[in-house]
């Protein structure tokens, strides 16, 4: 049995998870500070991939990064190609997973008690220190939830991924596209194996979150 789809799905989910973690937090932090109108507009744009069907995201990505289109051609000239490559999978998964991280992080930041940050300032702490050592720990639950949701969404991405990178065995095949292809070709037994693999990963991720949450609760009670 060829385990490539597992490896490919994990690397796509892991890399896009990390990308989305940092960009989501940064956007959530800075956008929360913008004037109301600008904030509203950006909020809609950045959250759209969450409510749009993944095929619509895939279509937009193809119209931007496809090799018939200016951006895609430009990138091709410098040797970067998002169609039919696994980096394209990272791109697709990141776009689709981003809103989950962004929304949950913003929710967490908005419920953060700003007096804590101001107190830090009166003590002469730097903004960076306040962000990483005060704000982030206080918001860790929301941020953790967002990160897990984003990772899980990236792992399960199908629509945009299949449109942008197709199904090339050994190159772009992911767990979700493999399940679909095996089902399409009538190989239900083969599909079942990958379904079980996917269930196992998802269950492990959810279990890890529950454990972390319990630890958090216990930690808080001790304080």
């Amino acid at each position: 049995m060829d385990w490539f789809p597992l490896w490919n799905s994990l690397r796509i989910a892991a890399i896009s998870g990390v990308l989305v973690f940092f960009t989501g937090i940064l956007c959530a932090y800075y956008i929360a500070r913008l004037p109301r109108v600008v904030k509203g507009i950006l909020d809609v744009i950045l959250t759209l991939p969450l409510v749009l069907p993944p095929t619509v995201c895939g279509w937009f990505l193809l119209m931007i990064f496809g090799l018939r289109h200016p951006v895609g051609q430009l990138l091709q000239q410098i040797g970067v190609r998002f169609v039919m490559t696994w980096y394209g999978g990272v791109l697709a998964a990141s776009v689709v997973a981003f809103p989950l991280m962004y929304r949950t992080a913003r929710g967490a930041f908005e419920s953060f008690d700003e007096t804590l940050a101001w107190s830090g300032k009166t003590l002469g702490l730097s903004n960076t220190f306040i962000f990483w050592r005060i704000r982030m720990p206080a918001c860790r639950q929301g941020i953790l939830a967002g990160a897990v949701l984003a990772f899980a969404r990236a792992l399960g991405e199908y629509g945009a991924t299949s449109m942008l990178i197709g199904f090339t065995p050994g190159r772009t095949a992911t767990i979700s596209t493999t399940v679909y292809q095996l089902w399409r070709t009538g190989d239900d037994a083969g599909a079942l194996v990958w379904v079980l693999v996917n269930l196992a990963i998802s269950a492990a991720v959810l279990l890890a979150v529950n454990l972390l949450e319990r630890k958090n609760r216990q930690g808080r009670r001790a304080v």
């Binding site: 169609v83 199904f167 090339t168 190159r171 292809q181 399409r184 070709t185």
Partner: protein
């Protein structure tokens, strides 16, 4: 099945009554008795057809409005393998047009055994005909970035690696033809797939789009798809490479309007329709 038909009955009756009320047809009585003019009854035909027939059949459905104003046609276009599965899973379908004999054979009780191992009985016997013939074409994106000149040239380039070819998967008829073509050049599809030279589409339109978007270096689709997408055809497969590609059509036993389905099938064989088919790259089946 039965309950589905029953649950749709009130809707059909309502549509009937409304149609009669609107046209104020003197002959029709609102109690639902047959009025003696069959043309007054609106009929909805569900046609399951291979994805490669999307444009032609849509055009023909428009033409059919003038011939049979009371018949409206609803299409379900997909790969023939998917359509076959949907029929097996109980989808209501009046007329099935497959892009290969295999899917039709699997639903034809007269072929129980080898071609129809499950002995499934969906095809209305006596209605099955060979409707059209199509060709398998090798297409390249605009500008032909890898300079592929034909199937023989492609075979060399695949052996050397560094070419990405899009083809239908083993469930899609055009994928099965592609596999035969590769075999006729002594190439093993599994080996090529392992080398990362093949990307699989789950229907022929997906392969067409991947070539059109230049996501791949070449693809194997039907001549008709190449025609409708305006793609450059560098070669067509001969009978020796992959055999003939015949599109069979048949009325199905699940049909609730067998006469109307048969009438539409007969219409498809008229010169007017064949003109439409031939303009799109099909030829009449011998």
């Amino acid at each position: 099945m039965k309950s589905k038909a029953v649950s749709k009955l009130p809707g059909i009756m309502l549509a009937l009554v409304l149609a009669m009320a609107v046209t104020a047809c003197g002959q029709a009585s609102s109690d639902g008795l047959p009025s003696g003019t069959p043309a007054a009854e609106p009929v909805e035909l569900t046609v399951f057809a291979a994805a490669s027939m999307t444009e032609t059949l849509t055009e023909i459905a428009g033409m059919y409005k003038a011939v049979e104003p009371n018949v409206s046609i609803v299409f379900n276009f997909d790969s023939s393998g998917t359509l076959q599965r949907q029929i097996e899973e109980g989808a209501v379908c009046d007329l099935f047009i497959s892009a290969a004999q295999k899917q039709m054979d699997a639903l034809d009780a007269s072929l129980s055994g080898k071609d129809n191992p499950k002995g499934q009985d969906y095809v209305e016997q006596g209605t099955r005909v060979n409707l059209l013939e199509n060709k398998v074409a090798l297409v390249v994106p605009e500008g032909n970035p890898k300079g592929i000149t034909g199937f023989a040239d492609l075979a060399e380039k695949l052996k050397a690696g560094g070419v990405l070819m899009a083809m239908g998967n083993s469930d899609v008829p055009v994928g099965q033809y592609t596999k035969k073509i590769l075999a006729s050049f002594g190439l093993d599809e599994t080996e090529l797939a392992k080398a990362g030279c093949i990307t699989y589409g789950s229907n022929v339109k997906e392969v067409t789009t991947q070539v059109y978007e230049a996501s791949v270096d070449c693809g194997v689709v039907y001549a008709t798809d190449a025609f409708s997408a305006g793609l450059e055809v560098v070669d067509t497969a001969t009978k020796e490479m992959c055999g003939q590609i015949i599109y069979p059509a048949a009325v199905l036993k699940t049909s609730r309007n067998r006469e109307a389905a048969q009438a539409f099938l007969d219409y498809l064989k008229t010169d007017a329709c064949m003109d439409v088919f031939e303009k799109a790259g099909f030829s009449p089946a011998e």
